[in-house]
């Protein structure tokens, strides 16, 4: 019979084999520990379900084993007698003290003058541990050689990572991990894993995704965010947009709301330079920036990428619109250059295009603020004694509360709203 890894405890789906407690040919009692398994919760012994002889070990030390996976082939005791007569090789118990049970039943051997008791053979194959092979020794310290032995790793298969090809403990562990992974992939169904709850598919993380994950963790765990919501009535802005969009079109550009947001943001940043800054805690300084480079979040098949429109304050709307369209296009095609992704002082993330929002944006350090824009909705607004239909945009500014106080953040947000609601006012210097 094949002994499968039994259900061990709620929530334990498998573990790493720390130690094999039996060898091929060993006799085991019911309940005797076969392997020691290291699970997320604890190291647990796995017992033999029945009495019998170990025919074959299906796993090695260091393997990852899942519940239900076969670990050992066991010949049950009933037919053991019959087998013992047909198969000659003397293999019996190991583990020293355990071996004595057999010696109580001496068995005469005709070829020997003295009746010799069955010897407690551990392993009859003399070739297994022969003298070390000739040739250059593999550079690995004794502690690493022991680790390799315990994990069943052939050091000659590992390329050492240190000077002179020296193999480290980490190299051995990496090798074992990769071996385990390879094993999984070669297994039934590739990297599809079945669990008690259904099947799952495992895929490696792309490097972009790894980077995003690391950045997000850093941003979310180190920056105390304040999220400032505000509604902006963009009915007039949309009228302006409608009026001038064809003009832009003639010049080969698309006037988007995003370009208008960039202009509004830069206007507000100039009034509140704390938001166009970086916090330098190491030196106990604030770095105020006299340039206004705005990152624009772009949704790409590979994940979120934020190219940067440089010097927004020195460009007119036409220029910004042209640049933004070009940048977004090249970003989606992954043709954007590395330097075009760097140097932003503030970020704008617009989800209006996918009819979403409002939402809480996360600051992209070392910046200290970000504008998140949702979808504009037609809303009844009470104005001059009556409700009128207005196009209202819900936006949210996130700012780093270490540097920016609530009042500043709120005023900054209000300034953006003010510009969006009265774009001409900005040009008039109001």
């Amino acid at each position: 019979m094949k002994v499968e890894l039994p259900f061990l405890a709620e929530g334990i789906e498998g573990g790493d084999v720390v130690q094999l407690l039996v060898h091929e040919g060993d006799q085991v009692r019911e309940g005797q520990s076969l392997i020691e398994l290291e699970t997320e919760k604890a190291t647990v012994p796995v017992p033999a379900p029945v009495e019998g002889t170990v025919v074959r070990l299906l796993i090695q030390q260091g393997d990852h084993v899942k519940v239900g996976q076969a670990i050992i082939e066991l010949q049950e005791s009933e037919d053991k007698a019959g087998k013992a007569q047909t198969s000659a090789p003397e293999k019996s118990a190991t583990g020293g003290p355990n071996a004595e049970a057999q010696r109580d039943h001496p068995q005469a051997r005709p070829t020997r003058p003295i009746p010799t008791p069955e010897s407690p053979v551990v392993d009859q194959k003399p070739a297994v541990v022969s003298r070390p092979p000739a040739g250059p020794a593999i550079p690995a310290p004794p502690s690493v050689r022991r680790l390799a032995r315990e994990l069943g790793v052939d050091l000659s298969q590992i390329k050492g990572s240190e000077a002179g090809g020296r193999i480290t403990a980490e190299d051995v562990k990496t090798f074992v991990r990769e071996r385990t992974t390879r094993g999984t992939k070669l297994g039934v169904g590739g990297n599809i894993v079945s669990t008690p709850y259904g099947s799952e598919r495992r895929e490696p993380l792309s490097s972009t995704r790894r980077k995003i994950a690391a950045n997000m963790i850093q941003a979310w765990t180190t920056i105390p965010h304040v999220h400032q919501f505000q509604d902006a009535d963009i009915t007039d802005l949309m009228a302006l947009h409608k009026r001038y969009a064809p003009e832009f079109k003639k010049k080969g550009a698309t006037l988007t709301l995003s370009s208008l947001f960039l202009k509004a943001v830069v206007h507000a940043l100039k009034l509140y330079p704390q938001l166009n800054a970086t916090l330098d805690l190491t030196n106990g300084e604030v770095i105020y920036k006299d340039y206004y480079n705005i990152g624009v979040a772009v949704d790409t098949p590979a994940g979120l990428i934020v190219p940067v429109v440089q010097q927004v304050d020195q460009k007119d709307l036409l220029q910004i619109s042209l640049e933004l369209a070009d940048l977004a296009e090249r970003t989606r095609k992954r043709e954007v250059k590395l330097e075009e992704l760097r140097g932003a002082t503030f970020t704008v993330s617009n989800m209006g295009g996918i009819s979403a929002g409002p939402f809480l944006p996360i600051i992209n350090p070392p910046q200290v603020g970000i504008l998140g824009v949702g979808k504009a909705k037609m809303t009844p607004v009470y104005r001059d004694g009556q409700f009128v239909p207005r196009r209202v945009l819900q936006l949210c500014v996130a700012y780093d509360h270490r540097l920016i106080d609530g009042a500043i953040g709120a005023r900054f947000t209000n300034e953006i709203v003010k510009v969006l609601e009265d774009f001409q006012g900005m040009f008039l210097g109001l």
Partner: protein, 471 residues
């Protein structure tokens, strides 16, 4: 003693046997340590390493006092009280052997004084001090060591004939001593007797002293010995020994002629053989190699799967520290642990003056196997410390992988070489490269700097030695 049963029976209480027994006991196995000697410690402690090092230390005092004249320090002629000398050596042995017994007791290792002989693969017959009895075991470890070899034609029943064991007892200071065998035992004991005042003649059948040792390392020792020994006869054999009233007459033969000289004592130090007889191995499946060692695998397991063999009886090199580590391996394997003897560097030390020590790959072995190596040498003539000691004859040598600079072996000749070689063992075992040794700061002024500077020369010129670049 009634029949008793042990998980592990260790036969022989030398540095291999007692280490194995202690390890087995520490791993929870019921262990017996059997030796026919009343004192524990085996050859190493009782008639080998320890007494010889005590003698060498004491006689070094004589040599140093003699050489103090170059500093303007003059001692009178020393007087040696041989009895006190012997007592002191016995006291050292006594202290150490008692220590081993105490350790055995605190680990609950049963020490049995008896001669053991296999009745079968799970039973030992014990004879000797106690009434004959039997002992049954799950596993046995044979650690019976080795004994000095005396060729048949040199086997005379004359009290003036000595092997290493009797020479260590220091029966007297013979005016004229013949040492047969230019290996490490002959050299060490020859050094002792020479310092005590004997005129020492050394005979070696092979073309040089310490024939298997790197010639570069032997050279400084050889030159010093030429001044100290009366004669060093290489390529020479002792044809026969005649017992005469006035001494033992040795007839030497070299390629040209035969000659005869008379000596007051003769020390035969031509080698050691594994002690496998009288063990009852024929009652087991144990087999021997062509050289008479017990055949073992890397786990120290013999061809009888529950019996292990370690130390001198299991193969060369016959060194105590090798035996100890093999003992650990055997005990761990028996306890079900993953263990093999896979040492990359077994250090060897010849405790002469100067000492010679080496470990790992030698230049000759590398050449023989065709392995691409670089050899880095640092002569002690360039060592400040060696100069203060007045011992510039030494040499430090590294054998490195030609490409990576990995340290594959180290060799030293010079005072304190036996202590210095430990760094080489660590370097080889850890897979260190030349840069590792060269950039590890070594204390100044010490002889250990010669290792650092030899490593530096793998790249270019070490600080204290200028090596012109080869074009």
């Amino acid at each position: 003693m009634a029949e008793s049963r042990y998980d592990v029976a260790v036969i022989g209480a030398g540095p291999g046997g007692y280490a194995a027994a202690f390890q087995a006991a520490d791993l929870g196995l019921r262990t017996a340590l059997i030796d026919e000697d009343s004192q524990l410690g085996g050859t190493c402690l009782l008639r080998g390493c320890i007494p010889s090092k005590a003698l060498l230390h004491a006689t070094r005092l004589l040599t140093d006092a003699d050489e103090a004249a170059v500093w303007g320090i003059h001692f009178g002629k020393p007087r040696v009280d041989l009895e006190a000398f012997r007592d002191r050596v016995s006291a050292i042995i006594g202290k150490l052997t008692k220590g081993v017994r105490t350790l055995a007791g605190s680990r609950k290792v049963e020490v049995i004084r008896a001669r053991a002989r296999f009745k079968d693969a799970t039973t030992l017959q014990l004879s000797g001090a106690n009434t004959p009895s039997e002992l049954s075991f799950g596993y046995a470890i044979i650690a019976t060591g080795s004994t000095p070899v005396i060729p048949d034609w040199l086997r005379l029943s004359d009290p003036r004939m000595m092997d290493s064991t009797s020479a260590l007892r220091l029966p007297d200071i013979p005016p004229r001593l013949l040492v047969i065998g230019g290996g490490y035992i002959g050299l060490e004991l020859g050094t002792v007797y020479q310092a005590l005042g004997s005129e020492v003649t050394m005979v070696e059948a092979l073309p040089r002293l310490l024939n298997n040792v790197d010639a570069d390392l032997v050279r400084p020792l050889h030159q010093r010995l030429l001044r100290q020994f009366t004669a060093i006869k290489l390529n020479t054999t002792v044809e026969k020994l005649d017992v005469r009233e006035e001494g033992l007459a040795a007839t030497f033969t070299d390629s040209q002629k035969a000659s005869t000289e008379t000596f007051d004592r003769v020390l035969v130090a031509v080698g050691r053989r594994p002690s496998t007889s009288q063990l009852g191995l024929e009652h087991t499946k144990i087999t021997l190699t062509s050289k008479g060692f017990i055949q073992v695998d890397r786990q120290m397991r013999t061809t009888e799967p529950n019996i292990f063999a370690i130390g001198d009886v299991a193969g060369e090199p016959m060194l105590a520290h090798k035996a100890t580590h093999e003992g650990f391996v055997a005990a761990r394997v028996i306890a079900g642990k993953q263990s093999v003897f896979d040492a990359r560097a077994i250090p060897a030390v010849v405790f002469t003056n100067p000492e010679i020590a080496w470990c790992g790959l030698t230049e000759q072995a590398a050449k023989a196997s065709g392995q691409a190596v670089k050899v880095a040498r640092f002569p002690w003539a360039a060592s400040g410390r060696a100069t203060t000691l007045g011992r510039n004859e030494g040499l430090t040598k590294l054998v490195l992988d030609a490409e990576s600079g990995r340290i594959l072996g180290m060799g030293l000749c010079g005072v304190g070489a036996g202590e210095l070689i430990a760094e080489g063992v660590l370097a080889v075992e850890m897979g260190a490269v030349a840069e590792d040794l060269a950039t590890s700061i070594h204390p100044h002024p010490t002889l250990s700097e010669t290792i650092m500077e030899a490593a530096e020369s793998f790249y270019g010129s070490p600080t204290h030695l200028f090596i012109p670049k080869r074009s």
